[in-house]
């Protein structure tokens, strides 16, 4: 069969297409003028401008021209290659050419969207087009390589997103490793009483999922564990998980909690993390009643035996039957192989102490929304009673929204959930205490399904809304009714005056922020973070759960603040993306690997040590370097440093780049 790409001759016949992208390019770049310019360049046979090149007719235009004009090179000037290179390569291939005879010119993201001057932008488009036309001449037919994908998946983070992703994959028959840092899965949702806007019980919908993931035959659950090392690449990751010692053997513990009862500490003494410090626990404890797994653990910082080695070890006696307690337990490192990874590491709440004006930490009856959440929960420290620190019931309460959010001094983003979360808490507050509740807001954001209706319900239930960002919370009284109260000073921006409002309790709707160690996690999985510190998705619209690293997906609040339905939707999407890779079984690798022109290699070995993937070895017999293309990732470092110029890189050959340099500088 003859090679259609050459049409029987070695003559280069280039088709050039410039896309208007509607007004996106066309309004700033004079597309017909560029097409006119390129039509005169050597080798260009067809030069056209078209409204939307990525549309079906646009792609068919290329195929038709390949056929009619015997084209053997295609250049499209449109958007970023990261967006549509694949589209046009496929179109080129459908036209009967090797897809790598295609070159793309970015005149949207790098030109029309960032420049305003029509003449300058058009000149730049001409230069970039010229460069590609010169470059494409040196393109060669290439084949993509296929790399098999390991079918197992790692899910990092056992909040609602991680749980849902793991269950979805497990139900589809994929083997999943679910790693959670805390001693129990459940994340923030496990701490909630009810969920907006339906007011259904959070525990009732979460607990079944927690136990399902624990008992799922395809899911391996590792709590109290962290991923410490990730090596490899899409399809073939090698992950090291560190399991912290619980000092309790997980498989032997049945969760009877006899050991807790018999601890030498008769009364709970230490701040309870799950109840955000509102209650106490012992050195040996179970995080919360519905914890999964139902396994106790020992806090090494608090346990006398672990700390000093001097204790009566009453817990051991209580567990004499099962012998589950092991003071000599050590941390354990486990290595697993997976093909894809879903990161669902969640968020951290804003530290209200950072805004001293609101008096958190200074005035005891200023609480955060999460603290109130624990107070209203029937399984919480007060069994569902909302009480002030002195034990009395609050008669008035104020909710301050946007604490730490929408503020350039702290976090500039909107945390998205606090409006609804506060309204839910306000309704529960009223229900539990019959108090007079006021919400201080800047803007109410209730775009979710059923959320505006929920806002209306709040209004009708008599919750007051004052539009104004609270300036300060103080205990200094100016009027008799303010004595002994917390006074909120705020401008009621709708009524148009400043008000002082005395209340018994203040609830701070603290916003969400990236986890403290988001940067380390990002490095671990080779992801990117936005300026705010949230993990960056590959494309804000088209690839919301993908990252710039193939095979690593993100779900839930680690990507940005979101509510439970959105988190679950993302978790499902991430699981589907992972499955799409797994079920295809392989990935096609961009053929941008390096290769050696053996006769030119001088055998200096300088490349061997440079390669980060140990893809280069040295043949002692031949005294030449050898590149294992299966290991090569295509960075090109060896190419740039080869003193004899004997290493080349597919898709980024020296002459291709030199011609590109020449092209971008030849625009006058």
């Amino acid at each position: 069969m003859s090679n259609p790409s050459h049409n029987g001759t070695d003559e280069v016949r280039i088709g050039f297409y410039i896309c208007h992208c509607g007004h996106n390019i066309g309004a700033v770049v004079d597309c017909p003028a560029v097409a006119e310019y390129t039509s005169k360049l050597p080798g260009v046979v067809v030069s056209r401008d078209y409204k939307y090149m990525c549309s079906d007719p646009g792609q068919e235009l290329i195929q038709q021209d390949i056929h009619d004009h015997k084209l053997n090179r295609i250049v499209v000037a449109s958007c970023s290659p990261l967006l549509h290179e694949h589209t046009f390569r496929t179109a080129t291939e459908r036209g009967g050419l090797n897809p790598f005879y295609f070159q793309m010119v970015n005149i949207r993201e790098h030109d029309s969207w960032v420049h305003t001057d029509l003449i300058e932008a058009t000149a730049k488009a001409r230069a970039l087009a010229h460069a590609a036309i010169r470059r494409v001449r040196f393109h060669k037919p290439l084949e993509t390589t296929r790399v098999p994908i390991h079918p197992d998946v790692l899910v990092v983070g056992g909040g609602i997103s991680g749980i849902h992703a793991a269950l979805t994959l497990g139900n589809a028959g994929k083997k999943v490793f679910l790693v959670e840092r805390e001693p129990s899965i459940g994340g923030h949702m496990a701490k909630f009483d009810k969920t907006f806007p339906t007011l259904d019980c959070a525990a009732c919908i979460l607990t079944p999922k927690m136990s399902a993931v624990r008992s799922h035959e395809n899911v391996t659950l590792w709590t109290y564990s962290e991923v410490v090392k990730v090596e490899g690449y899409v399809g073939n990751y090698k992950v090291t998980v560190q399991r912290k010692p619980r000092y309790v053997i997980e498989d032997l513990c049945v969760g009877c909690q006899e050991c807790i009862k018999s601890c030498v500490y008769k009364e709970p003494k230490f701040s309870d993390e799950f109840n955000v410090g509102l209650s106490k626990r012992k050195p040996i404890y179970i995080p919360f009643p519905q914890a999964v797994p139902q396994v106790v653990l020992i806090d090494p910082e608090r346990c006398l035996q672990v700390k000093t080695g001097k204790c009566k070890k009453t817990c051991l006696e209580a567990c004499a039957d099962r012998q589950a307690i092991d003071f000599n337990q050590k941390e354990e490192l486990i290595e697993v192989k997976v093909g894809t990874i879903i990161v669902a590491t969640g968020f951290k709440l804003f530290d209200a102490k950072r805004i001293p004006q609101y008096g958190y930490g200074l005035y005891p009856n200023v609480v955060t929304s999460l603290e109130l959440e624990r107070l209203v929960t029937s399984s919480g420290p007060t069994a569902g009673d909302i009480i002030l620190r002195d034990g009395s019931k609050p008669k008035t309460a104020g909710f301050i929204l946007c604490v730490g959010s929408r503020d350039l001094k702290t976090n500039r983003w909107c945390s998205r959930t606090c409006c609804m979360h506060s309204m839910k808490l306000a309704q529960l507050f009223k229900e539990h205490t019959d108090a007079d509740v006021t919400i201080f807001y800047m803007d109410i954001r209730a775009p979710g399904k059923g959320c505006e209706e929920f806002y209306d319900k709040s209004l009708r239930e008599g919750i007051r809304f004052i539009r104004g960002r609270v300036a300060e919370v103080t205990d200094w009284a100016l009027a008799p009714e303010e004595e002994g109260k917390l006074v909120i000073r705020v401008e009621d921006t709708l009524a148009g005056f400043v008000r002082r409002i005395p209340v018994d309790m203040i609830v701070l709707a603290v916003g969400m922020e990236p986890q403290v160690d988001a940067q380390e996690v990002r490095r671990l999985f080779n992801m990117s973070c936005g300026t705010e510190g949230w993990f960056l998705e590959k494309h804000p619209k088209l690839a919301p759960v993908s990252t710039f690293t193939d095979g690593v997906f993100i779900a839930g609040c680690c990507q940005g603040p979101k509510d439970i339905p959105d988190s679950i939707a993302q978790a499902g999407a991430a699981a589907a993306e992972a499955m799409a890779l797994i079920d295809r079984g392989y990935i096609e690798q961009e053929p941008n690997t390096a290769y050696i022109v053996e006769e030119e290699c001088s055998g200096c070995k300088s490349c061997v040590v440079l390669c980060p993937y140990t893809a280069i070895s040295f043949d002692d017999a031949k005294q030449k370097a050898i590149i294992n293309e299966a290991l090569c990732k295509g960075c090109g470092t060896c190419v740039a440093s080869c003193p004899s110029g004997s290493i080349k890189q597919h898709l980024f050959e020296d002459e291709q780049i030199f011609s590109e340099i020449e092209g971008v500088l030849a625009y006058d």
């Binding site: 004006q357 929408r406 503020d407 350039l408 001094k409 800047m442 803007d443 539009r467 104004g468 960002r469 609270v470 300036a471 300060e472 000073r489 705020v490 401008e491 009621d492 921006t493 148009g496 005056f497 400043v498």
Partner: protein, 202 residues
């Protein structure tokens, strides 16, 4: 009908003709005032301001008025003159708008256009203060206060006489005018800018 005819009513609806196009942009172009476009009208400035109780427009409203080109309303308001430059609003603003600086820009503009409220002594103090610094390089508080009260509110001089006496007897107020030695140097410096409004008159 007759009564209705007698009733004096104030028009509150604003027409577009009441605006002075470009005013907002001019203020925002003053050094330090460029953050104003991002105001979200949250009211933190008003809430934190210790003087809102006396203001005809709250600081937040002033921001809205500037942005909407209501020049006459803003320059005639007492708000800009009541601002004590305590910078609470500037420090608290979630959009980092330098509200105090905007107030300064508005004060400068009001003095330049002579549209400040008639019975407010503050603009006069500012001008007298500036004049004294220009001519002597330093401030002698006694003289300043005297001049101020004489111009704005001579009755106040009588009501404050006890304080003045106390200050002089405790040795904390001097009547002998202070001045710097190298006045010419200061004059030369200020002569380098032509837009000064005090120099010509002083």
């Amino acid at each position: 009908m007759v009564e209705a005819h007698m009733m004096k009513i104030k028009r509150t609806i604003k027409y577009d003709a009441d605006r002075v196009g470009g005013f907002g942009r001019e203020i925002m172009s003053v050094a330090g005032c460029d953050q104003l476009p991002s105001c979200i009208q949250c009211g933190t400035c008003s809430g934190t301001c210790p003087l809102t109780i006396y203001m005809d427009f709250s600081p937040r409203q002033v921001m809205a008025l500037v942005r909407a080109d209501f020049k006459n309303e803003v320059l005639r308001s007492n708000t800009i003159w009541l601002c004590a430059s305590c910078y609470s609003c500037t420090v608290e603003c979630p959009r980092q708008i330098r509200i105090t600086d905007i107030m300064y820009a508005l004060k400068q503009r009001a003095i330049k256009e002579q549209v400040y409220p008639k019975h407010m002594p503050i603009p006069i103090l500012a001008k007298e203060f500036a004049k004294m610094v220009l001519s002597k390089g330093r401030i002698t508080e006694t003289l300043l206060v005297m001049q101020l009260f004489l111009r704005a509110n001579w009755r106040a001089v009588l009501s404050s006489w006890r304080l003045g006496l106390g200050l002089i007897t405790t040795g904390r107020f001097v009547i002998k005018p202070e001045r710097i030695e190298r006045q010419a140097e200061l004059d030369a410096m200020l002569a380098t800018i032509t837009n000064g409004n005090g120099k010509g008159k002083a």
